[in-house]
Symmetry: C2
Subunit: 195 residues, 2 copies
Protein backbone atom coordinates (compact mmCIF):
# COMPACT_ATOMS: atom_id res chain seq x y z
CA UNK A 1 0.00 0.00 0.00
CA UNK A 2 1.23 3.46 -0.87
CA UNK A 3 0.67 6.20 1.69
CA UNK A 4 0.66 9.59 -0.05
CA UNK A 5 1.05 12.40 2.45
CA UNK A 6 1.85 16.11 2.64
CA UNK A 7 3.53 17.47 5.77
CA UNK A 8 1.35 20.61 5.76
CA UNK A 9 -1.88 18.58 5.52
CA UNK A 10 -3.90 18.42 8.71
CA UNK A 11 -5.59 15.06 8.19
CA UNK A 12 -2.27 13.54 7.13
CA UNK A 13 -1.17 14.01 10.75
CA UNK A 14 -3.39 11.34 12.41
CA UNK A 15 -2.85 9.12 9.36
CA UNK A 16 0.94 9.35 9.63
CA UNK A 17 0.77 8.55 13.33
CA UNK A 18 -1.09 5.26 12.82
CA UNK A 19 -0.36 4.01 9.30
CA UNK A 20 2.76 2.00 10.20
CA UNK A 21 1.08 0.35 13.18
CA UNK A 22 -2.04 -0.64 11.24
CA UNK A 23 -0.31 -1.88 8.08
CA UNK A 24 2.11 -3.91 10.18
CA UNK A 25 -0.75 -5.49 12.16
CA UNK A 26 -2.50 -6.34 8.88
CA UNK A 27 0.67 -7.67 7.23
CA UNK A 28 0.43 -5.08 4.46
CA UNK A 29 3.67 -3.68 2.97
CA UNK A 30 3.85 0.10 3.35
CA UNK A 31 5.47 2.58 0.96
CA UNK A 32 5.86 6.19 2.15
CA UNK A 33 5.18 8.69 -0.64
CA UNK A 34 5.34 12.37 0.15
CA UNK A 35 4.32 15.10 -2.28
CA UNK A 36 3.37 18.79 -2.38
CA UNK A 37 -0.28 19.79 -2.47
CA UNK A 38 0.53 23.38 -3.48
CA UNK A 39 1.01 22.69 -7.21
CA UNK A 40 -2.10 20.47 -7.26
CA UNK A 41 -4.24 23.09 -5.51
CA UNK A 42 -2.86 25.71 -7.91
CA UNK A 43 -3.98 23.64 -10.90
CA UNK A 44 -7.48 23.65 -9.34
CA UNK A 45 -7.38 27.45 -9.15
CA UNK A 46 -6.65 27.66 -5.40
CA UNK A 47 -3.96 29.94 -4.06
CA UNK A 48 -4.25 28.68 -0.49
CA UNK A 49 -5.52 25.74 1.55
CA UNK A 50 -9.27 25.22 1.02
CA UNK A 51 -9.55 25.35 4.82
CA UNK A 52 -8.41 28.97 4.67
CA UNK A 53 -10.38 29.82 1.53
CA UNK A 54 -13.59 28.44 3.10
CA UNK A 55 -13.57 29.55 6.76
CA UNK A 56 -16.70 27.59 7.70
CA UNK A 57 -15.04 24.40 6.45
CA UNK A 58 -11.82 25.38 8.19
CA UNK A 59 -13.58 25.83 11.53
CA UNK A 60 -15.10 22.37 11.19
CA UNK A 61 -11.77 20.80 10.24
CA UNK A 62 -9.89 22.17 13.27
CA UNK A 63 -12.58 20.95 15.64
CA UNK A 64 -12.69 17.59 13.88
CA UNK A 65 -8.91 17.22 14.02
CA UNK A 66 -9.00 17.98 17.74
CA UNK A 67 -11.62 15.25 18.28
CA UNK A 68 -9.63 12.73 16.22
CA UNK A 69 -6.39 13.56 18.05
CA UNK A 70 -8.17 13.10 21.38
CA UNK A 71 -9.63 9.77 20.31
CA UNK A 72 -6.27 8.55 18.98
CA UNK A 73 -4.37 9.79 22.01
CA UNK A 74 -1.98 11.93 19.97
CA UNK A 75 -1.24 15.48 21.01
CA UNK A 76 -2.87 18.42 19.31
CA UNK A 77 -2.40 22.16 19.43
CA UNK A 78 -3.76 24.32 16.61
CA UNK A 79 -0.70 25.68 14.77
CA UNK A 80 -0.30 29.45 15.00
CA UNK A 81 0.53 29.45 11.27
CA UNK A 82 -1.22 27.33 8.63
CA UNK A 83 -0.25 25.94 6.25
CA UNK A 84 3.48 25.85 6.95
CA UNK A 85 5.91 25.22 4.12
CA UNK A 86 6.70 21.53 3.92
CA UNK A 87 9.33 21.87 1.20
CA UNK A 88 12.43 20.92 3.20
CA UNK A 89 10.75 18.05 5.05
CA UNK A 90 9.22 16.76 1.81
CA UNK A 91 12.54 16.79 -0.08
CA UNK A 92 14.04 14.74 2.72
CA UNK A 93 11.15 12.27 2.98
CA UNK A 94 11.16 11.83 -0.79
CA UNK A 95 14.92 11.32 -1.13
CA UNK A 96 15.19 9.03 1.93
CA UNK A 97 11.84 7.26 1.70
CA UNK A 98 13.24 3.78 2.35
CA UNK A 99 15.59 4.60 5.21
CA UNK A 100 14.82 2.85 8.50
CA UNK A 101 14.62 6.20 10.31
CA UNK A 102 12.10 7.65 7.84
CA UNK A 103 8.82 6.69 9.62
CA UNK A 104 9.98 8.16 12.92
CA UNK A 105 11.21 11.30 11.15
CA UNK A 106 7.82 11.74 9.49
CA UNK A 107 6.00 11.38 12.81
CA UNK A 108 8.38 13.83 14.52
CA UNK A 109 7.71 16.47 11.84
CA UNK A 110 3.95 16.06 12.17
CA UNK A 111 4.12 16.31 15.95
CA UNK A 112 6.31 19.40 15.69
CA UNK A 113 3.72 21.08 13.44
CA UNK A 114 0.42 19.92 14.92
CA UNK A 115 1.16 19.04 18.54
CA UNK A 116 3.99 21.42 19.48
CA UNK A 117 3.28 24.37 17.15
CA UNK A 118 6.85 24.48 15.87
CA UNK A 119 7.78 25.93 12.49
CA UNK A 120 8.64 22.99 10.22
CA UNK A 121 9.95 25.33 7.52
CA UNK A 122 12.79 26.12 9.95
CA UNK A 123 15.81 23.89 9.28
CA UNK A 124 16.78 23.76 12.95
CA UNK A 125 13.37 22.19 13.71
CA UNK A 126 13.87 19.68 10.89
CA UNK A 127 17.40 18.93 12.11
CA UNK A 128 15.96 18.22 15.53
CA UNK A 129 13.43 15.78 14.05
CA UNK A 130 16.16 14.06 12.04
CA UNK A 131 18.42 13.66 15.06
CA UNK A 132 15.65 12.25 17.24
CA UNK A 133 14.83 9.77 14.48
CA UNK A 134 18.46 8.62 14.39
CA UNK A 135 19.60 10.28 11.15
CA UNK A 136 22.69 12.37 10.50
CA UNK A 137 20.92 15.72 10.37
CA UNK A 138 23.57 17.87 8.73
CA UNK A 139 24.40 15.48 5.90
CA UNK A 140 20.73 14.76 5.20
CA UNK A 141 19.88 18.48 5.11
CA UNK A 142 22.77 19.08 2.70
CA UNK A 143 21.64 16.33 0.33
CA UNK A 144 18.06 17.68 0.44
CA UNK A 145 19.37 20.94 -1.04
CA UNK A 146 20.83 19.29 -4.13
CA UNK A 147 19.24 19.67 -7.56
CA UNK A 148 18.69 15.93 -7.69
CA UNK A 149 16.68 15.92 -4.43
CA UNK A 150 14.62 18.87 -5.64
CA UNK A 151 13.91 17.20 -8.98
CA UNK A 152 12.96 13.96 -7.25
CA UNK A 153 10.21 15.70 -5.23
CA UNK A 154 8.96 17.51 -8.34
CA UNK A 155 8.69 14.20 -10.19
CA UNK A 156 6.89 12.59 -7.26
CA UNK A 157 4.38 15.46 -7.09
CA UNK A 158 3.75 15.07 -10.82
CA UNK A 159 3.27 11.37 -10.25
CA UNK A 160 0.65 12.11 -7.59
CA UNK A 161 -1.28 14.27 -10.05
CA UNK A 162 -1.01 11.52 -12.69
CA UNK A 163 -2.51 9.02 -10.26
CA UNK A 164 -5.51 11.32 -9.79
CA UNK A 165 -4.54 12.43 -6.29
CA UNK A 166 -6.15 15.75 -5.31
CA UNK A 167 -5.82 15.75 -1.53
CA UNK A 168 -3.91 14.22 1.37
CA UNK A 169 -3.65 11.74 2.80
CA UNK A 170 -4.42 9.32 -0.02
CA UNK A 171 -3.88 5.57 0.21
CA UNK A 172 -3.30 3.72 -3.06
CA UNK A 173 -3.86 -0.05 -3.38
CA UNK A 174 -3.59 -1.66 -6.83
CA UNK A 175 -4.39 1.67 -8.47
CA UNK A 176 -7.46 2.26 -6.26
CA UNK A 177 -7.47 5.58 -4.41
CA UNK A 178 -8.74 6.02 -0.87
CA UNK A 179 -8.77 9.65 0.20
CA UNK A 180 -8.68 10.68 3.83
CA UNK A 181 -7.40 9.46 7.16
CA UNK A 182 -10.80 7.88 7.74
CA UNK A 183 -10.30 5.62 4.73
CA UNK A 184 -7.21 3.77 5.96
CA UNK A 185 -9.27 0.82 7.19
CA UNK A 186 -11.09 0.63 3.86
CA UNK A 187 -7.78 0.62 1.97
CA UNK A 188 -6.50 -2.22 4.16
CA UNK A 189 -9.71 -4.20 3.57
CA UNK A 190 -9.33 -3.64 -0.19
CA UNK A 191 -5.78 -5.00 -0.05
CA UNK A 192 -6.90 -8.09 1.86
CA UNK A 193 -9.90 -8.75 -0.41
CA UNK A 194 -7.72 -8.67 -3.52
CA UNK A 195 -5.37 -11.37 -2.15
CA UNK B 1 -29.24 13.01 16.46
CA UNK B 2 -30.08 15.29 13.56
CA UNK B 3 -29.42 13.93 10.08
CA UNK B 4 -28.96 16.84 7.66
CA UNK B 5 -29.23 15.67 4.07
CA UNK B 6 -29.69 17.00 0.54
CA UNK B 7 -31.42 14.81 -2.05
CA UNK B 8 -28.94 15.79 -4.77
CA UNK B 9 -25.93 14.92 -2.61
CA UNK B 10 -24.11 11.74 -3.56
CA UNK B 11 -22.74 10.75 -0.16
CA UNK B 12 -26.13 11.48 1.43
CA UNK B 13 -27.41 8.45 -0.50
CA UNK B 14 -25.60 5.67 1.44
CA UNK B 15 -26.14 7.66 4.64
CA UNK B 16 -29.90 7.89 4.07
CA UNK B 17 -30.05 4.16 3.36
CA UNK B 18 -28.48 3.19 6.71
CA UNK B 19 -29.12 6.00 9.18
CA UNK B 20 -32.46 4.73 10.48
CA UNK B 21 -31.17 1.17 10.92
CA UNK B 22 -28.04 2.28 12.80
CA UNK B 23 -29.67 4.86 15.04
CA UNK B 24 -32.43 2.39 15.95
CA UNK B 25 -29.86 -0.31 16.79
CA UNK B 26 -27.99 2.19 18.96
CA UNK B 27 -31.16 3.51 20.62
CA UNK B 28 -30.48 7.03 19.36
CA UNK B 29 -33.46 9.26 18.46
CA UNK B 30 -33.29 10.38 14.83
CA UNK B 31 -34.49 13.68 13.37
CA UNK B 32 -34.61 14.01 9.58
CA UNK B 33 -33.51 17.47 8.41
CA UNK B 34 -33.34 18.18 4.72
CA UNK B 35 -31.90 21.35 3.23
CA UNK B 36 -30.60 22.77 -0.04
CA UNK B 37 -26.86 22.86 -0.70
CA UNK B 38 -27.24 25.26 -3.65
CA UNK B 39 -27.54 28.47 -1.60
CA UNK B 40 -24.67 27.36 0.67
CA UNK B 41 -22.41 26.55 -2.28
CA UNK B 42 -23.36 29.89 -3.83
CA UNK B 43 -22.25 31.73 -0.69
CA UNK B 44 -18.87 29.95 -1.07
CA UNK B 45 -18.61 31.22 -4.65
CA UNK B 46 -19.55 27.95 -6.34
CA UNK B 47 -22.10 27.86 -9.14
CA UNK B 48 -22.18 24.07 -9.37
CA UNK B 49 -21.32 20.94 -7.37
CA UNK B 50 -17.63 20.86 -6.45
CA UNK B 51 -17.58 17.40 -8.04
CA UNK B 52 -18.36 19.04 -11.37
CA UNK B 53 -16.10 22.05 -10.80
CA UNK B 54 -13.16 19.76 -9.93
CA UNK B 55 -13.31 16.84 -12.37
CA UNK B 56 -10.45 14.91 -10.76
CA UNK B 57 -12.34 15.00 -7.45
CA UNK B 58 -15.56 14.09 -9.23
CA UNK B 59 -13.95 11.02 -10.83
CA UNK B 60 -12.78 9.85 -7.43
CA UNK B 61 -16.19 10.47 -5.82
CA UNK B 62 -18.11 8.40 -8.40
CA UNK B 63 -15.72 5.49 -8.03
CA UNK B 64 -15.83 5.79 -4.26
CA UNK B 65 -19.62 5.90 -4.21
CA UNK B 66 -19.69 2.78 -6.37
CA UNK B 67 -17.41 0.97 -3.89
CA UNK B 68 -19.51 2.08 -0.91
CA UNK B 69 -22.75 1.04 -2.60
CA UNK B 70 -21.24 -2.36 -3.37
CA UNK B 71 -20.05 -2.81 0.20
CA UNK B 72 -23.42 -1.73 1.63
CA UNK B 73 -25.39 -3.85 -0.82
CA UNK B 74 -27.41 -0.92 -2.14
CA UNK B 75 -27.85 -0.43 -5.87
CA UNK B 76 -25.84 2.10 -7.80
CA UNK B 77 -25.95 3.49 -11.30
CA UNK B 78 -24.20 6.75 -12.08
CA UNK B 79 -26.98 9.28 -12.81
CA UNK B 80 -27.01 10.55 -16.40
CA UNK B 81 -27.58 14.06 -15.00
CA UNK B 82 -25.89 15.49 -11.91
CA UNK B 83 -26.84 17.24 -9.77
CA UNK B 84 -30.60 16.94 -10.20
CA UNK B 85 -32.91 19.53 -8.68
CA UNK B 86 -34.03 18.36 -5.26
CA UNK B 87 -36.43 21.25 -4.69
CA UNK B 88 -39.74 19.36 -4.81
CA UNK B 89 -38.48 16.39 -2.79
CA UNK B 90 -36.88 18.72 -0.23
CA UNK B 91 -40.03 20.79 0.27
CA UNK B 92 -41.92 17.57 0.96
CA UNK B 93 -39.31 16.11 3.31
CA UNK B 94 -39.11 19.40 5.20
CA UNK B 95 -42.88 19.88 5.54
CA UNK B 96 -43.56 16.22 6.42
CA UNK B 97 -40.39 15.41 8.37
CA UNK B 98 -42.18 13.62 11.22
CA UNK B 99 -44.62 11.55 9.19
CA UNK B 100 -44.25 7.78 9.58
CA UNK B 101 -43.84 7.39 5.78
CA UNK B 102 -41.02 9.94 5.60
CA UNK B 103 -37.98 7.63 6.00
CA UNK B 104 -39.21 5.30 3.27
CA UNK B 105 -40.00 8.25 0.99
CA UNK B 106 -36.47 9.61 1.47
CA UNK B 107 -34.93 6.25 0.62
CA UNK B 108 -37.16 5.85 -2.46
CA UNK B 109 -36.07 9.25 -3.78
CA UNK B 110 -32.38 8.43 -3.28
CA UNK B 111 -32.78 5.07 -5.01
CA UNK B 112 -34.63 6.71 -7.89
CA UNK B 113 -31.74 9.16 -8.38
CA UNK B 114 -28.67 7.03 -7.67
CA UNK B 115 -29.74 3.44 -8.34
CA UNK B 116 -32.37 3.79 -11.06
CA UNK B 117 -31.21 6.97 -12.82
CA UNK B 118 -34.66 8.55 -12.64
CA UNK B 119 -35.23 12.30 -12.72
CA UNK B 120 -36.23 13.34 -9.20
CA UNK B 121 -37.13 16.85 -10.38
CA UNK B 122 -40.03 15.20 -12.24
CA UNK B 123 -43.19 15.24 -10.12
CA UNK B 124 -44.41 11.92 -11.50
CA UNK B 125 -41.24 10.30 -10.14
CA UNK B 126 -41.79 11.96 -6.77
CA UNK B 127 -45.44 10.91 -6.79
CA UNK B 128 -44.31 7.34 -7.38
CA UNK B 129 -41.93 7.52 -4.39
CA UNK B 130 -44.69 8.97 -2.21
CA UNK B 131 -47.18 6.25 -3.17
CA UNK B 132 -44.70 3.46 -2.55
CA UNK B 133 -43.96 4.94 0.86
CA UNK B 134 -47.65 4.96 1.71
CA UNK B 135 -48.43 8.66 1.40
CA UNK B 136 -51.25 10.37 -0.46
CA UNK B 137 -49.16 11.60 -3.40
CA UNK B 138 -51.47 14.20 -4.89
CA UNK B 139 -52.35 15.95 -1.65
CA UNK B 140 -48.71 15.96 -0.47
CA UNK B 141 -47.51 17.40 -3.79
CA UNK B 142 -50.17 20.12 -3.59
CA UNK B 143 -49.15 21.12 -0.06
CA UNK B 144 -45.48 21.18 -1.10
CA UNK B 145 -46.35 23.94 -3.60
CA UNK B 146 -47.76 26.29 -0.98
CA UNK B 147 -45.92 29.41 0.12
CA UNK B 148 -45.74 28.04 3.64
CA UNK B 149 -43.95 24.85 2.51
CA UNK B 150 -41.53 26.90 0.38
CA UNK B 151 -40.80 29.25 3.29
CA UNK B 152 -40.27 26.32 5.63
CA UNK B 153 -37.51 24.88 3.44
CA UNK B 154 -35.89 28.30 3.08
CA UNK B 155 -35.82 28.69 6.86
CA UNK B 156 -34.37 25.22 7.31
CA UNK B 157 -31.61 25.91 4.76
CA UNK B 158 -30.78 29.14 6.63
CA UNK B 159 -30.71 27.14 9.85
CA UNK B 160 -28.20 24.71 8.28
CA UNK B 161 -25.92 27.61 7.41
CA UNK B 162 -26.28 29.01 10.93
CA UNK B 163 -25.20 25.66 12.38
CA UNK B 164 -22.02 25.81 10.28
CA UNK B 165 -23.10 23.13 7.84
CA UNK B 166 -21.24 23.36 4.52
CA UNK B 167 -21.82 19.91 3.00
CA UNK B 168 -24.04 16.86 3.17
CA UNK B 169 -24.66 14.62 4.87
CA UNK B 170 -23.95 16.19 8.25
CA UNK B 171 -24.87 14.60 11.56
CA UNK B 172 -25.42 16.95 14.49
CA UNK B 173 -25.21 15.75 18.09
CA UNK B 174 -25.42 18.31 20.92
CA UNK B 175 -24.19 21.02 18.54
CA UNK B 176 -21.21 18.91 17.36
CA UNK B 177 -20.99 18.50 13.58
CA UNK B 178 -19.93 15.28 11.88
CA UNK B 179 -19.62 15.70 8.14
CA UNK B 180 -19.82 12.77 5.76
CA UNK B 181 -21.46 9.37 5.49
CA UNK B 182 -18.26 7.89 6.93
CA UNK B 183 -18.79 9.84 10.18
CA UNK B 184 -22.11 8.31 11.17
CA UNK B 185 -20.45 5.82 13.53
CA UNK B 186 -18.44 8.64 15.13
CA UNK B 187 -21.60 10.69 15.65
CA UNK B 188 -23.29 7.72 17.32
CA UNK B 189 -20.28 7.18 19.56
CA UNK B 190 -20.35 10.88 20.50
CA UNK B 191 -24.00 10.59 21.47
CA UNK B 192 -23.33 7.54 23.62
CA UNK B 193 -20.29 9.04 25.31
CA UNK B 194 -22.23 12.16 26.32
CA UNK B 195 -24.92 10.09 28.08
Amino acid sequence: MEFWFEFASTYSYPAAMRVERLTRAAGVPLVWRTFLLGPIFKSQGWSDSPFNLLPVKGRYMWRDLERISDADGIGFRRPSAFPRSSLVAARIACRYHDEPWLPEFVRRVYQANFADDRDISDKTVIADCLSHAGADAQSVLAVAETDEAKAQLRRQTEKAATLGIFGAPTFVVDGELFWGNDRLEQALAWYAAAR
